[in-house]
């Protein structure tokens, strides 16, 4: 499998942003994920959000762990550097990257296996460190890349492709993020671009830890035999995907619903996802209330989406550490080395 660059032809009718750039200038390489994979929709939403924000497309640092979700930083913002690091350890790499240069927009992409299992510790600690970044978990309730094992966000009782039920409690990353001090916490659905794009924009613009749990269906391991679903959507460029196993293209799941209502979305495996759009009078500034709300809805089998908690005045890690305004990676010998005269005094202190 080799890398396929997208042809650099600009469509004359694409809208341009304040920098005179189109959405194409924010795209990445061609995705090698399964056609219909929710993760691709998240990437598309990131592209749209960044383009609409008119941030120069080279001013991001994209960091991920390992998983299908963690592959996606290749599929957006090609003009920015990306780092596909180690399973579950995106948060530490993102911490270092952000400490080195506070001026870049740090985007961390992770999966539910990546963040809720192997990387649960790193997830918890980056949240409490309040790194100024957008942290997205593409949450599909499964280990996509290792072929469909249950992940720790999978709800107790839900079944896998072979019909076996998950026996263990689910970890809710949103509740954890609220509890551990994230200052921006949201949940969305990969198929709901209308909701997701504004959330991504808000998260990027937020100063501090912005966490978005994006429910992002895995069509490959929830699309078992006998499914009567029709595939209306065929992904763009699907013919360029070369995979070891044949995976039929599936319909991209979309949801479009009004605030204050519950929406039932059919998942590829036939189960039903309840989406509850937060009411317009919901107050996202009360941490305890937000936590209570999220969990009480969860008890009823509903997944609350939207901006769930926000503290716009929170400090980020650089504020806490009181670092210089100039990014640390721009300091040279002159700024960092105390010089030989200081050393003379130090030597004297050891005599």
């Amino acid at each position: 499998m080799t890398f396929v660059a997208k042809p650099a032809v600009h469509h004359p009718r694409l809208p341009v942003n304040d920098l005179g750039l189109t959405r194409r200038d924010y795209e990445g390489s061609v995705s090698t994920l399964c056609a219909g994979c929710g993760h691709d929709s998240v990437s598309a939403a990131i592209v749209q959000a960044c383009a609409e924000l008119s941030i120069p497309p080279h001013r991001f640092a994209k960091i991920s762990g390992i998983g299908c979700s963690s592959k996606t930083p290749s599929y957006f913002l090609n003009r920015s550097h990306g780092f596909n690091s180690v399973h579950g350890r995106m948060p530490s790499v993102a911490t270092g990257a952000n400490l080195a240069n506070k001026e870049l927009y740090t985007i961390g992409i992770s999966g539910d296996g990546d963040s809720a299992s192997i990387g649960l510790g790193q997830f918890a600690h980056i949240v409490r460190r309040r790194i100024n970044m957008l942290y997205i978990v593409d949450n599909n309730g499964t280990y996509g890349l290792t072929k469909g094992q249950f992940s720790a966000t999978n709800d107790k009782g839900s079944t896998n492709k072979r019909g076996a039920p998950n026996l263990y409690e689910a970890i809710d990353l949103v509740s954890m993020a609220i509890q551990l001090g994230a200052s921006f916490v949201a949940r969305s659905f990969s198929g709901d671009k209308k909701q997701l794009v504004p959330l991504i924009k808000a998260g990027l613009m937020h100063h501090g830890m912005a966490f978005i749990d994006v429910v992002s269906p895995c069509v490959a391991f929830n699309n078992h035999n006998g499914s009567t679903k029709s595939y209306e959507y065929v992904r763009k460029h699907s013919e360029t995907v070369v995979a070891a196993d044949y995976v039929p293209a599936a319909r991209e799941i979309t949801a479009d619903y009004a605030p204050g209502t519950t929406e039932r979305v059919s998942m590829p495996d036939g189960s039903t996802l309840h989406l509850y759009k937060v009411a317009e009078d919901y107050d996202p500034h009360n941490r305890v209330e937000a936590l209570h709300y999220v969990q009480s809805r969860q008890e009823r089998g509903e997944v609350v989406t939207g901006l769930l908690y926000l503290d716009p005045a929170a400090m980020d890690c650089h504020d806490i550490l009181n670092t210089l305004d100039t990014p640390l990676n721009q300091l040279g010998t002159g700024e960092l080395c105390p010089g030989s005269s200081a050393l003379t005094a130090i030597n004297e202190s050891f005599r």
Partner: protein
């Protein structure tokens, strides 16, 4: 009776947490200030309060600073270990103890001198607070020792005044407690002993400090701006010192803001991840840990090797897992450092021997990491890291600029054709990198472990993988010429001795003693891995090479066999791994024994 000057080992047996460390430290510092070579060793338990702890000072006019077996003077202040402390004295040695309670008969030894001072009783009328009395016990025995050993008293009192500067109300009682001891000694004991000190001028401009402090300072001077760590003995004081020096030396004058960021991470996996993230994004960064941390960091080290990201890791080695013995010194992470991680990985490792070398290597490691775009591991150990020892003073050349390696800025990117992150443009195996955010349309690339071509594009092509691995090997060969050279002393002897790190401390004494036995050896102090040509040459040119190291499995020897394709029979292991630092006696006896068993001729035999 004949008097021996400046040549003894004194050991203080205390209870951990009893405040003895500062009194014992002052004792060593006083001798240092009298110009006498001293080396200190802490032997402490994995415990904060209550367990036994020993502090040993070796005093040697000849400048022998390694550990020497046998104790000449025992300051036995711990009832729990009293028996073994008495037993560890050499015949003719001096036992110093508090005789407020009489010595139990089972502890009497007819071949040593007993010096009892009723310290508790002397302090009773002077200090009402029992806690104070406990603390001042230490200062009082220090006072006795000044008289017994002929230590210049104003040197010590000067130190007390300096130590408590600003807390003046502590100076008077400290000096009073010391004088109580000193007066008692003059009144009731034969002072000074035949074993005593005398001012020397043997130290020049030397300083006395520990390797961890030096490593921290070198990291400040070398421009580390990000540090992430997880506490573990004996590495903790590297970062604690780094933070202290940063607060002092790295704050912006105008705003008071920090030109550094230190993260106490949730574990070592995270610590090395932070370091790698910062290195990827162009900040110099480092971590400090010990064996267990190195194990946890291994996955990430492999990633950094393949992804070619600068990082510096200090491993202050200790012995095996869990607690207890682990707070003892060892050189047992050689192999796990050199080959850390999965896939074909090999890491650059530096082996400092002195505080000065810790300082130098700290800055050099940051340069090497940037130049070679790879992790640099520095292997110190508890012996070097946590004990004060004599060292050349630190030195910094103000004309030195950091070597940030091959980094293209926006202008350079404009000037070149197509950018390829992993192209071997210069033929040394090292590509050009860019920092994130450098250029609006050029130079961005995606970092992954493997599966990439010269342009950093994703590929699973077998040929591309192999090309990349070959280039990494070329880079490895480049590294062997850039790392610190081994220190070789070759006088055309038939056999040689090879060693590294803290084994350098007892080595001069061991070599002198061996020479007296007719065994003369050339020496090679390895300072880095990959081995340079000089190491290869040394091994090639000597029939037998004794490889001295402080671990059970002869890890350096294995590395030499593996990397240099030497006949293992020519490399003779000399090993010590009991948790103390290797002594000159140990080295001497193992080598001499090998000569005897294998009937190798000695100089004296040749001469006769």
């Amino acid at each position: 009776m004949s008097v021996t000057y400046n040549d003894f080992v004194i050991r203080f047996a205390n209870v951990n947490g009893s405040g003895s460390a500062s009194a014992n430290g002052m004792f060593a510092k006083a001798l240092f200030r009298m110009g006498i070579p001293v080396a200190t060793r802490n032997i402490f338990p994995s415990n904060i309060q209550g367990l036994p702890t020993w502090f040993e000072v070796r005093v040697s006019a000849k400048g022998y600073l390694g550990r020497r077996e046998g104790v000449d003077i025992m300051v036995a202040m711990n009832a729990e270990t009293f028996g073994e402390d008495v037993a560890s004295l050499k015949p003719g040695g001096y036992l110093f103890y508090d005789n407020t309670k009489p010595l139990a008969s089972e502890f009497h030894r007819s071949d040593i001198h007993e010096i009892g001072v009723p310290i508790a009783q002397l302090l009773l009328p002077e200090f009402t607070d029992p806690k104070q009395r406990g603390l001042f016990k230490n200062i009082t025995y220090l006072g006795v020792l000044t008289a017994l050993l002929n230590i210049e008293f104003d040197v010590i009192t000067g130190m007390v005044s300096k130590q408590y500067k600003g807390k003046d109300d502590l100076i008077e009682p400290n000096i009073r407690a010391m004088e109580i001891g000193r007066r008692y000694a003059f009144d009731y004991l034969d002072c000074p002993l035949p074993l005593q000190v005398k001012r020397l001028d043997a130290l020049g401009d030397k300083i006395m400090t520990d390797g961890n402090t030096a490593a921290a300072l070198g990291s400040v001077y070398g421009g580390a701006s990000v540090c992430a760590w997880y506490p573990i003995t004996p590495s903790t004081s590297v970062v604690e010192s780094f933070e202290r020096y940063c607060n002092q030396l790295r704050r912006d004058k105008a705003t008071g803001k920090s030109k550094f960021a230190i993260v106490q991470a949730e574990d070592e996996l995270s610590a090395i991840g932070v370091v790698i993230g910062a290195g990827w994004n162009g900040a110099r960064s480092f971590t400090a840990t010990s064996g267990p941390g190195l194990s946890l960091m291994s996955e990430f080290l492999g990633l950094a090797y393949f992804a070619e990201i600068p990082a510096v890791l200090w491993d202050i080695q200790r012995s095996g897992p869990s607690t207890g013995m682990p707070t003892r010194t060892q050189q047992s992470d050689v192999l796990s450092a050199a080959y850390a991680s999965h896939g074909d990985t090999r890491h650059v490792v530096l082996f400092p021997s002195t505080p000065r070398e810790c300082f130098d290597f700290a800055a050099d490691a940051l340069d090497l990491a940037d130049r070679l775009q790879t992790p640099i591991l520095v292997l110190s150990d508890l012996e070097l890291g946590m004990n004060d020892s004599l060292s050349e003073p630190f030195d910094w050349d103000d004309s030195r600029a950091y070597d940030r390696g091959k980094v293209l800025d926006a202008r350079a990117l404009d000037e070149i054709g197509r950018f390829g992150r992993y192209l071997d443009v210069d033929g040394d195996g090292i590509g050009y990198r860019t920092y994130p955010g450098t250029h609006p349309s050029k130079g961005a690339f995606f970092t992954r472990g493997t599966s990439r071509d010269e342009y950093a594009a994703y590929t699973e092509s077998p040929a591309a993988y192999q090309r990349n691995m070959e280039r990494l090997l070329k880079k490895w060969r480049t590294a062997s010429a850039l790392v610190p050279k081994a220190e070789v002393v070759s006088n055309g002897r038939r056999n040689g001795v090879l060693y590294f790190g803290t084994t350098a401390l007892p080595m001069p004494e061991a070599l002198d003693n061996l020479a007296e036995e007719g065994i003369e050896l050339d020496t090679c102090r390895v300072r880095a891995f990959p081995f340079g040509e000089e190491v290869e040459k040394f091994v090639r040119e000597h029939e037998q090479v004794f490889v001295v190291e402080q671990n059970r499995d002869g890890q350096m020897r294995q590395l030499l066999v593996n990397e240099l394709q030497v006949d293992p029979a020519r490399l003779v292991p000399v090993l010590y791994y009991a948790g103390l630092s290797i002594s000159a006696n140990e080295i001497q006896s193992q080598i001499a024994n090998y000569y005897s068993v294998n009937r190798i001729s000695r100089m004296t035999e040749v001469k006769s």
